[in-house]
Symmetry: C2
Subunit: 565 residues, 2 copies
Amino acid sequence: MFVPAIKGSATEEQQNKWLPLANTMQIIGTYAQTELGHGSNVRGLETTATFDPVTDEFIIHSPTLTSSKWWPGGLGKVATHAVVYAQLITDGKEYGVNGFLVQIRSLEDHFPLPGITVGDIGMKFGSGAFNSMDNGVLRFDRVRIPRNQMLMRVSKVTREGKYVESNIPKQIIYGAMVYVRQKIVADASIALSRAVCIATRYSAIRRQFGSPQNDQNGNGIETQVIDYKTQQSRLFSLLASAYAFRFVGEWLKWLYTDLIQKLEGHDFSTLPEVHACTAGLKSLTTSAAADGIEESRKLCGGHGYLSSSGLPELYATFVPACTYEGDNVVLLLQVSRFLMKTISQLQSGKKPTGTTAYIGHVEHLIQCHCKVKKAEDWLNLSVILEAFEARAIILLIACAENLTKFANPLQGFSELSSDLAEAAVAHCQVIVVSKFIEKLQQNIEGNGVKQQLETLCYIYSLNLIHKHLGDFLSTRSITPKQASLASDQLRSLYAKVRPNAIALVDAFNYTDHFLGSVLGSYDGNVYPKLYEEAWKEPLNESVVPDGYHEYIRPVLTQQLQNARL
Amino acid sequence: MFVPAIKGSATEEQQNKWLPLANTMQIIGTYAQTELGHGSNVRGLETTATFDPVTDEFIIHSPTLTSSKWWPGGLGKVATHAVVYAQLITDGKEYGVNGFLVQIRSLEDHFPLPGITVGDIGMKFGSGAFNSMDNGVLRFDRVRIPRNQMLMRVSKVTREGKYVESNIPKQIIYGAMVYVRQKIVADASIALSRAVCIATRYSAIRRQFGSPQNDQNGNGIETQVIDYKTQQSRLFSLLASAYAFRFVGEWLKWLYTDLIQKLEGHDFSTLPEVHACTAGLKSLTTSAAADGIEESRKLCGGHGYLSSSGLPELYATFVPACTYEGDNVVLLLQVSRFLMKTISQLQSGKKPTGTTAYIGHVEHLIQCHCKVKKAEDWLNLSVILEAFEARAIILLIACAENLTKFANPLQGFSELSSDLAEAAVAHCQVIVVSKFIEKLQQNIEGNGVKQQLETLCYIYSLNLIHKHLGDFLSTRSITPKQASLASDQLRSLYAKVRPNAIALVDAFNYTDHFLGSVLGSYDGNVYPKLYEEAWKEPLNESVVPDGYHEYIRPVLTQQLQNARL
C-alpha cells in the first residue's frame, strides 16, 4: 500500500517535493480509480479535477453519488493518501481521465481532511478472504490540492492552465497493464495448484465403496477415491491445467520483460499482440482456476465444505480475479476485436506474428484433416496443436464472415459477441497448448519427468477437446470417431498419471503451512487432524453453550412463551 | 430438529413409551448417520450397536476415529437426543445398519451423558450460511440403551436377541429418499430464481460503455448491461433454467404423492424409475443452480462480491446441496446403472415407462433426422424434444455396447463411468425439457404469459444444445448447420425476452426482505442503497479505527521496530 507508484508516474519535480516528506514521515497510499457506478469503462469516471488558475490548484469533486470512489483496498480505514483518477477540466474544457495525488487523512490524528468523506464498504465473500482488507468508499466535496499533485509524466497542466501532452508515448501505460495481468496468470497457476494439491492428496486418503479387500488386520477396506475414473477425469484434468498455467505464466513473464525492452527502445510493434495475449490469458486462466478450485473442493466431498479444508477461503480469495483488472468477458471481447483486425489485415498481406502467427497459415489450416485413426495416434503433439489451431481459425473466420453481414459493424459486433468471445477462448487455448509443447521441447531434468509432463500435456489438450467438442466437430477439425478415440486415450492417460499423482502435486513444494488445509496435509494424516481441528472451534470451549438457559432450556421445558427461539 | 421422525420409524410400543416424555419434557433430536470416514457408502458405517441379552440393552460404540459421527446439524451444542445409525450385532452376527434412539445430553443440565463425547466441527464455507448451525461430532464409549430404543418398524431384535425382519416392505425406505430429493429440486429452483432475480434487476440498472445518448438533463448515459448479448446469453439462460426447474419440481411433487399412494397399495413397480428420476434431477438441478448462482454473482461485476449483494451467502448456503443427500456424481452413476438395466431389458420385451418411455422408441429415434432447415424451424417443441431424446438414447446405447467389450462388467462400469455419467445427464435433460413442454400444454392464464414461457422453454433447450453440442453432433442428432441455426435463433429469442425480463423475475414474487440484496431491490434504487449499506459496517462506527495508535501510527512515523504490522 505504500506509494512507489508515484515514482513511476511523477515528474522529477514532484519526486523532489515528496521525497523529503517520505524521509521524515511515511504515507500510506491507495489507488482510487473504480467508482460506485463505473468499473470497466474508465472513460466514464465522474470524479472531476477542475483547475483553478487563481490559486494554482485543482478542485477534486464528486458531483454525484455514483462518482463515489468504491473498492480501493486499504482506503476504508488506513490510507492517508490516494492517487485519485478524475476527469481533468481546465479552461472550461474536459481532457479525460488523469491521476492526482490527494491527501485524505491527517498525518497527525488520522481524521479525514475537510471535504473528505471516507469509510469501509462492508463485508465481502467468504469469512476470511478479503474481509481483512478495508476496501473503501471516498467522496470529495471540492477538495483543493496544489497543481503539482497531478501526475504529469504523460500530460500536464501549466501554471496558466494550459493542457500539454508530453512526448512520452501513451503506449507505456499498457506496460503496467501487461505486468499486472501476467502476474495474475502466475497467481492463477498457484491458486489452482494449491487446490489440486489438497484434492489429490485427500483423494488418495479418502476411501469409499468398492470391493472390500482385507487389510493387515483382516478388515475390509474400501477403494481410494482417486482410483475412480470419474474422480480422475475431473482431478487429473485440473492437475494438468495447473501445470499448463504455470508454463504459460513463466513464458508470459519472459514476454513482459521482452516487451519492456522493446518499449524502452520505442518499438511498439508487438504491443497490440502482447496486450491481447495477456488480456486473453488473464481471462482464460482466472476463470478456469476459479472453477477448478470449486471443483477441487467438491472433489473432497462434504469435508471440503469445512473451513479447515482450506478450500472455501482459497476460492473466496481467488475468485475476484475473474472480475478485477478487467472483467473476464470484457477482456475476451477485447481479444476478439484484436483478432478480427488481424484477420482483416491478412488480405492486405500483413503477416501475423507471435501468438497469432498460426493465423498466417489459414490456407493450410482450413483444409487440413486430422490424421488420427486409432487412440494412440492422439499421442502426437503436432497433431493436437494443429487441431486446436484449425478449430480456432475456422471459428475466427466464421465470425469475420458473419460480421460482414451487418451494415453497421458496431451492431454486428454486439450481436455476435457471444460467438466472438468463444472464438477468443479458442485462440487463447492455442497459446496455452503451444507453450506447454514448447516447454516439453526444452531440456527437462529428472528421470521420467519429461514423460510425465508430456502425459499432462496430452490430458490438458484432450480434455479441452472433450469439453469444447461442439467447436471441434462443427469446425470439422476432428471427426466424431476421432473424438471417441480421444476419450479412449484419455482413460489410458489417467492410468499413467495415477501412480505419480501424489509426486506431481508434491512437486509444487508447498508446505502444510502454506496450504492451510487439513485435507491436504503432506503426511496424509487427515482424520486425526480434522478431529483435532474441530476441537479448536471456540464454541467447544464451554461444554454447555452460551444461551442454554435463555433459549434451549425454555424449549426443553416447553416454556416457549418465554423463549425467543 | 424436533424428532417427528421417530413417529414414522418407531413401532406403536415405542411411541407409547416416548409420548408421555414428549408431553412433559421436549427433546431436541438430530439424525446421526454420516461418519468422519463414511458418507456416500452407508453400508460402510463403523459405529456398532451390540445387543447384550443379559441386560436387554444395546451397547453403542465408536470403535475407531473414523467411526465418529460427523456433520449432523444441531448436534454440536444443542441436541439432547440423536437417531444413531449403527451396525447391528446380535448373537455374534452382523445384521447391517439400523437406527437407534440415543440420549446424548442430560435434560437437567445439558451436560453430555457418560460415555458421550460431543462438540462442534468448526467453521464452514461463507461468513453466514451454515455457520449458524452447530454441525457436530459425536463419539460413543460403550453407551448402553434399552433394547426398545432400536427403531423397529422394518426389523427388530427380540428379548432373546433374535434378529427378525417385519413384513413391512423394505422399499418404503426409498419413499423418504424420494421425498427429500424432490424437495431439494424445489429448493434449487428457488435458490436459482433468487439469484437470477437479483442479477436481472441489477443488470437493468447498471450501465457501462456504449454509445452515449443524452438523458433529459443532457448528460451522456451508458448502455444498460442487460442489453449486451453476452450478458443476455448468460442471464436469460439462467432465467429459463429457473423456470424449467420450477416446473419439473412441481411435477416431482406430484410424482412423490403418486408414488406414496402406490407404495401404500403395495405397488412397487414404479419405484426404481421414480427413484432414478429424483436422484438424477437432484443432481442435475443442484449442480446447475449452484453454478448459476455463482454465474449470477459474476454477472453483477465487482458489486456482486459484496455481502450486501446477497449473492455470496446465497451460494455458500446452497452449494452443499451438490454434496449432501447423495453426491451429485455418485447419483448420476446410480441413474446410469438403472438406465443400463432398462436398455438391457428392452431385448426381453420389457417396455420402459414413465420418464424412460422414450427409450422404448429406440428404433425410431436412432434413425430419425432433425428436420430443421432454417432458424425458425427450431421454434418447434416436438423437434426439440426429439433431438434431446435421440441424443440421450444414442449415448445410452453407445455406453451399453461399450460395456459389453469388458469381460468383467464391474470393471467396464468403472472404466466407462465418465461416459455413463454424461449419458445420465442427457437422460435427465430429456425429463426437464419434456416436463417444461407438458407445462406449456396446460391452460396458462394471463395475456401473453404462455408465449413468454414458451420463449423460455426454447431458450432453455437451445442453450443446452449449444452447451452440449459435442454430444448432439457426435450422436448426429443434429448437424453443424442446424447447430449454427440454433445459435441464430437463440439471439432472436433473447431479444424477445429482453422487454419482459424484469416482469419475468418480478413474477417470482420475492420480497426485498426475502431476497436480502441491495442489488436486487424491487425499486431499482441500487446505488443509494449500496452506499447506505456500507455505512452500517461496524468498522465505520469510529472515525479512527481501533489499532491506529498501536499499528498505523508507528508505520507513519517510521517507528517500525515497535510496530507489529
